[in-house]
Structure formats: C-alpha cells, structure tokens
Subunit: 456 residues, 2 copies
C-alpha cells in the first residue's frame, strides 16, 4: 500500500524522492486537502442530492434519495453497496399550517409564522381557537397551572445567547419543544406553541421532534418564528385575553419501511476491520437538510472518493454509511448497530458528521486514554485541514449504536451559525460554503486514512 | 484594580467568595464573552456605521464616518478622543464604469461586469476599444510581448483554490491587480483587465489598490467578475480577435486631509503604557466595508465598552484606534507611528483586527520568544472566546508602524469566506454574523485585559 500511495501522489512530481512515514503522511494529508478544495466534488454531489427535495423519513423524497444513493455509490465503484432495511415512522405535514391572533370579532387577524413539530397530531379543520398562556419554563407552567386549562401554552424561553457552545444552548432550550405538548396537556392546555430553537433572529419556524406520553392527551404542537414569538408576547402583554387560532393538517400514519445505505472500499490487508464514517440521510421537511445532514453523508462519501481520486488503497475497510431516520428515533442506527454485534466484523472506529458543513475545528473522541492519545498524536497531520484539536467528547447518535467500537469520533466544525439553519426552511444548499464543506471532507479523509493505515 | 473588578463582577452573586488570580481571570473572561454575546452592542454599532455608506479615503462618506466616530467615542465617555490629521489620496469612481464584448458591427454586444481599480485613471468618454490578450502571468505576458501592442491585457490567473490559507492564495494572485497596469503598459497594452481576486464564484468585481510607475504610461485598470472573466476567456478561445470596449470615468484629484480617530480608557496605574487595538476605518467604495474593516474598528471600540459595561478599570491605557487610509497607502498609520516615536508613551502592544468579523481561531504574535510565551500562557483564558492557538505571525499594516512596541498581534478569525466579500459590493452589513463578530470582540477584550493587567 505504501508503494501504491507513493506512486499515486508522486507521479506528477517525479523529481521528489519517495517519501516514507511521517513525511509521506504529511504529503498525503496535503494532497487530500488540495484535491478536496480543487475539485469540490462533494459540494456538487450535495447539490445533486438536495435538488431531490427534503428527505423526511418515509416520504417520497427520502425514497428518491435512497435510490440516488444506491445509484451513486454503485456508479462510483464502491464495494458491497447495501440497502439495509429499517422501520420508520410516517408523518405528514399536509397543506394546512396556519396560526393567527384573532381580532375582536373572532376573525383572522395577524398571521403568525408556525410549523408543526414532527409527529404532532393535527387540529380539526377549523383549528383550535383559545386564549394563550405564555411561560418560560415547565416550573412556571406548574406554578401557574390554575391558569392553563383550555389554553394554548406558549413556551417562549430563548436559547441562552451567552454561551459560546451553541449545542449547549440548544440543549438548554430544546426540552420545551420535545416535552411541551405533554406538559401542556398535563396542565389542561389544548395545544403547545414553542419558540423556535434557533440562533437566527428571523421569522422562520424551526421544527424538530416532540413526544407524547401514554395516558396523556395528545395535543397539537407547533414552533413559532422568533419575530412572531416576540410579537405574540408583546400582544399578550397588552391583552392577556387575546385568542389565537392554530390550524394544522399534519397527521401520523402507520410505520413504513426505508433504508440505511452504505458502500465501502474494502481493506486490502484487514478487510474485516471496519472504519465507519457517516451521517444521517433523513432530514426535516422544511428546507432540504443541506447542513442537517445531507452534507455529513456526502462528506462521508467524499472520504472514499478522495481515496479513489488519489489512488489510496486503505489497509482496513472504510465504509460510508447514510443512516436513515435519525430525526425521528434513530431506527436506522439501531438496525445497523444490531447487525454489527453479529456480523463478524470488528469496528475500529465510528465517525459521525452531523454538526453542519462549516469550517473544521476539531474532533471529539470517545475511546480509551491510550487510543485518544494515539489520535491526538496525529494532530500535526489533521492541522493541514484546519483541525485545531482532538479531545474527549461525544460522537453522535448514529455511530454510538455500533457494537463495541474501539473509538467513536464526532467531527466538530465551527457551529456558531449552525442553528441558524437547523430544522428549518433556512437549511438549503445556498447556505453551504464549498471551501468550508470540502475542508471538512478533507479533515475526515486524513483521519480515516490514518485509522486505516495504523489502526488503534 | 483587583478590588474594582471583583466588585463589578461579583456584586450580583454575593454568595460566591471573592476570587483572585487565575480563577478570577477565568471568571472575568467568561463574563466578557457572555456580555458580548448577550448585548451584541458592537454588532448594532456596526449597523449604525455601515448605514452611513462607504468610507473611501477622502470621500464624503469617510468624513461622515469620522464625525460619527468622534461623536460616538465622546458619548461613550472615552478619554482623550482625538482626530489625528493625515493626508489621503482622493480618487473618485464616477458614474461611468462599463465594459462589453463588441459585436461584429462594433456595437455594444455582451456587457461585462467590471469595476475600476483604486487610483486607476479613466478612459476617454467613448472608452477604449481594443483586442484582448489573455495571460495567466507576467512571465506569459513577457513571452508574448510581441502580441501585446495596442491591446487590452487580460490577467486571468485565479486564486489557488487548493491552499487552506485564503490569505496566502490572495497573496499569490493579487500581484496582477497591483502591477497589472504597469506590466500592460510596458508591453504596449492600452488597458489592464484583471480577474477579481476572490474565492466566491459570482459576477461581482472586486476592486483594490493598484500602482503606476514613473516613466511608464498610465493605462486604465479594472477588475472583472469571475463569471464574466470565464465568459470572456471562452469567447476569446472562439475568436482571438474579438474586441472589448472598456469605459471608465474614474479620476484622481489632489490629496486631501482626513483623520485617524482614537479614544481610550486611561490606565489607572501606568497611564503612559499603551495597548493599541485597532483596525482601519476607510473602506473601498463597493459595498460599505462591513467586514473590511468597519468590523475591526468596532470590535476595537467594543473592547473598551465591554470594560465599561463590566466595570473593568485597566492598569494600563487601552486605546482604540480607527486608522484612516490603510487601503490607499497607510498614511494614517504612518502619522500615528511617527507620533508614537516622540510622544513619551511606551506602546506595550498593537493589536490589529483586519481579517473580517468571522469566528475566532487564534492570534498571531510578533514579539520576543519570552513575550510570545507569556501570551501563549494565557491560552486557557482565550479559549473561553473560541481562540484555539497563539503563534508567531504577522499583525497587520497599521499597528506595524507603531514605534518599538513590545508586541504586535494580529487577530485571526476563520478566513475561509473572507475573500467572498473583500473589496466588493458583497461586503455589506448583512454578511456580518452577530455571534461571530461578538466572539471576536470578546477574544480581543480578554487579551487586552490580560495585557493591561500583567503587561509583557
């Protein structure tokens, strides 16, 4: 393999003496970065994918994307291209999705920008008209429980703007989206309206998962854009008895079947030692899941195509996995994970890219101290692709299901603007920056190359 | 001062024991970051500034901005608010700025998106109509010198996309913009048309400085958008004898006067030890210089206002300097630098922010190894604001004129998309991300606080 690489890299510059070990790895890292940035092949593949529409689990768009992925991996000459069946929920937004502040005569007054949360039940065709109780927390709702009966509960807690870690701020606010409907119903409310969990001050509602609980009535739940959340809050300040009408046509259908798609370059020396690199292939139905997580899947695929373009033959098997249905329950990851427990393969590493296609910053690693240290020793090579650090941290929900991996890795780009797009109509191809995306592909390609070459 | 800080920070949480040394500094760093992100005061100041229009040296917009800066610094209660006079060139673009590929009858055919380069001479009112010689380098122009006479020389070398350092790629391509007119004229050409030096594939021309040389005829020079550069190149491939008309009304006027503006918080213990933090206040006349370098100036100012908002009284003087006329010759920096040679002050550090208002990555430092090491020892504090590294490197043209500073520092954000905006109509306020800008202000505030507290 060393010979294979040296040949591929050095043929254009025959005067350069053959390189070995660290110098060769450095040259290879540089070549991966240059090739990614020059070709922007992943960027163009992502354009193709996102042109197919959104990829909500169980939707026609997701089915189109699965066929596209199989066709694309096959035409790229990957080994073992596989559609791995998994159950997925099926939920449809439908055409009717409106809210408004009612005027004095009960007519439609000021419209409010809303989007049903994923798996929410809909309303009757005429919608729900009710007074609104605004709260900042579940504790406040509990304290004001006597006021909640018959009302729309408006959870209006913003993300904490003061933390540098947008994912932490998301974690601190997303509970009202996930559990809001249950809490509202338990208090006697008739619906939940949730301030969008986003860092961007615009009026685009951000959807996402929510849950119901057995024994608690299922009430409809929707996200509201930030500008309208503030407008509604101001209007409630003026008139605490104002009424809002929320009308949603979304509904749940029986589970259906979809597929996780994967393909690989089989390791020439240790074919049963697997390095998985992947993202989730499904998206929300607002926008087209360009950052979340079309980009992560395509970056995973691009690691393999970069190896092809540079003639790199990995010692260990490198597998790009497009996990189906992360957003609504990780069912694709569950199936893949169960399979790895019994398929006779050893998973060296599972690398997940699911934080957007922004400029690389680092890698989070979950592994023994010795293995973490080994990956950290590669930092001078990873720096060729803007990676500044490797530290202990979480990977992502999909690869975390893999059976006994030696290491789990989360790719961490600059996430300051990630939640501007996340789960919303803002998550479109135009928000992808080719250099930022390609540097991510290159960073992961360097890491995967080193894992395939040296193991852990 | 320690008391002053502890009081300001800890009053809201009296149960927390008073903090000293490193723990106190860490708390202070966090408070600076949180306050910057929560208030986004700098972001809103930048909106005010950019609403005044562009700030081309010598233009009415620059004069408006100087008055705004003086008024703003004064109303913020800064000490020693000063307008420091400096000479500036005066060049105007004028209203006429067109190019087109002529049709067979010599009429205006396909328009080309162009923008005169700064200080370029204009054309006669009817423009220059000539055949075009496309070259990739000065070497190619020299080799093909016999073909150049009477032609428009089209320098079409792109930025190298394959390097991760966009500033290096810029450095590798900008020579054709700066020296293109001289090289064209020396070869007998009648004008220079230069592929825009940008990373964004659109049709927006990017302007910038260029130079003439005594004894070489002054020919007009303009940048052309990337899409039209490629279109022109393709058209030349089909018809090497096609003619282009370039018509520019730009012209140079006698030098005029403008001002570098500064204000400070005077150090309570060492008032004559100065930490300068600054950017350049002038901009190009395409766009409004939001990233380049309105943001850098406002971030410098925000360091001081963050100190005010948190009740931080620095031991050493912290001065925000808005240098005039970096783009057309650094005359403001020259005047400021000469002044520092004789004003009895010691400049501890000069920090420059002139790489865009994107997410922080690191600081470049020019200083003795001991001083560099001291600044590097503060990395755990700087990491609170997304700074991943402090290393040897260049600061920027403005602070580099300071007389015998102990350290020069360049603030380095993520620059992957910086040249998308740079020197063009893309450089507008809408391209500023509030979190990314504010994290930069906070990163510099932490560094400045430590310099003011501990010196070098």
């Amino acid at each position: 393999m060393r010979t294979a690489i040296c040949t591929a890299i050095l043929i254009p510059a025959l005067l350069v003496p053959p390189l070995c070990g660290q110098t060769r790895d450095q040259e290879l890292a540089r070549a991966l970065v240059r090739r990614a940035l020059e070709d922007t092949a992943g960027y163009h593949l992502l354009r193709e994918l996102t042109a197919l529409g959104h990829r909500l689990p169980g939707s026609p768009g997701a089915a189109r994307a699965v066929r596209w992925a199989e066709r694309t991996m096959t035409s790229l000459g990957l080994d073992n291209v596989t559609l791995q069946e998994c159950p997925v929920p099926r939920w449809e937004r439908g055409e009717r999705e409106t809210a408004c502040i009612l005027d004095e005569r009960g007519g439609s007054g000021e419209p409010l920008a809303v989007a049903a949360l994923g798996t929410s039940v809909g309303t009757a065709p005429g919608g729900i008209s009710a007074e609104v109780l605004e709260v900042q927390s579940f504790e406040e709702l509990e304290a004001r429980g006597a006021e909640a009966a018959g009302k729309i509960i408006f959870f209006n807690r913003p993300m904490d703007p003061g933390t540098i870690t947008t994912f932490a701020a998301y974690g601190g606010a997303v509970g009202q989206r996930v559990q809001g409907a249950v809490k509202a119903a338990e208090a006697g409310g008739v619906a939940a309206l949730v301030r969008s969990v986003t860092t961007k001050y615009d009026n685009v509602p951000h959807t996402g998962t929510m849950s119901y609980r057995d024994g608690v009535p299922k009430v409809p739940a929707a996200a509201i854009g930030l500008i309208d959340a503030d407008r509604l809050s101001a209007a409630l300040h003026d008139d605490p008895h104002l009424r809002v009408r929320l009308s949603l046509s979304c509904r749940n259908y029986p589970d259906t079947t979809s597929y996780t798609v994967f393909g690989q370059i089989t390791g020439w020396e240790y074919p049963r030692e697997i390095i998985v690199i992947g993202g989730h292939f499904d998206s929300w139905d607002k926008g087209v899941g360009a950052h979340d997580d079309g980009a992560g899947c395509i970056q995973a695929l691009e690691v393999l195509t970069l190896f092809q373009r540079l003639g790199i033959r990995p010692k260990r098997t490198v597998r790009a996995v497009f996990f189906m249905n992360e957003e609504m329950g990780l069912s694709g990851a569950d199936v893949y994970g169960r399979w790895t427990a019994s398929n006779g393969e050893d998973h060296i590493a599972g690398i997940e890219a699911d934080r957007g296609a922004l400029t690389p910053r680092g890698f989070y690693v979950t592994a023994s101290p010795e293995r973490l240290e080994k990956i950290q020793s590669w930092l001078p090579l990873l720096q060729e692709a803007c990676i500044d650090w490797v530290k202990k941290g979480g990977s992502g929900g999909d690869v975390a299901r893999i059976h006994e991996p030696e290491a789990l890795v989360g790719y961490v780009p600059d996430v300051q603007r990630y939640f501007d797009f996340h789960h919303s109509a803002n998550d479109v191809f135009a928000e992808i920056h080719p250099r930022e995306m390609e540097l991510g592909s290159a960073a992961m390609a360097i890491l995967v190359y080193l894992l395939a070459e040296y193991g852990l």
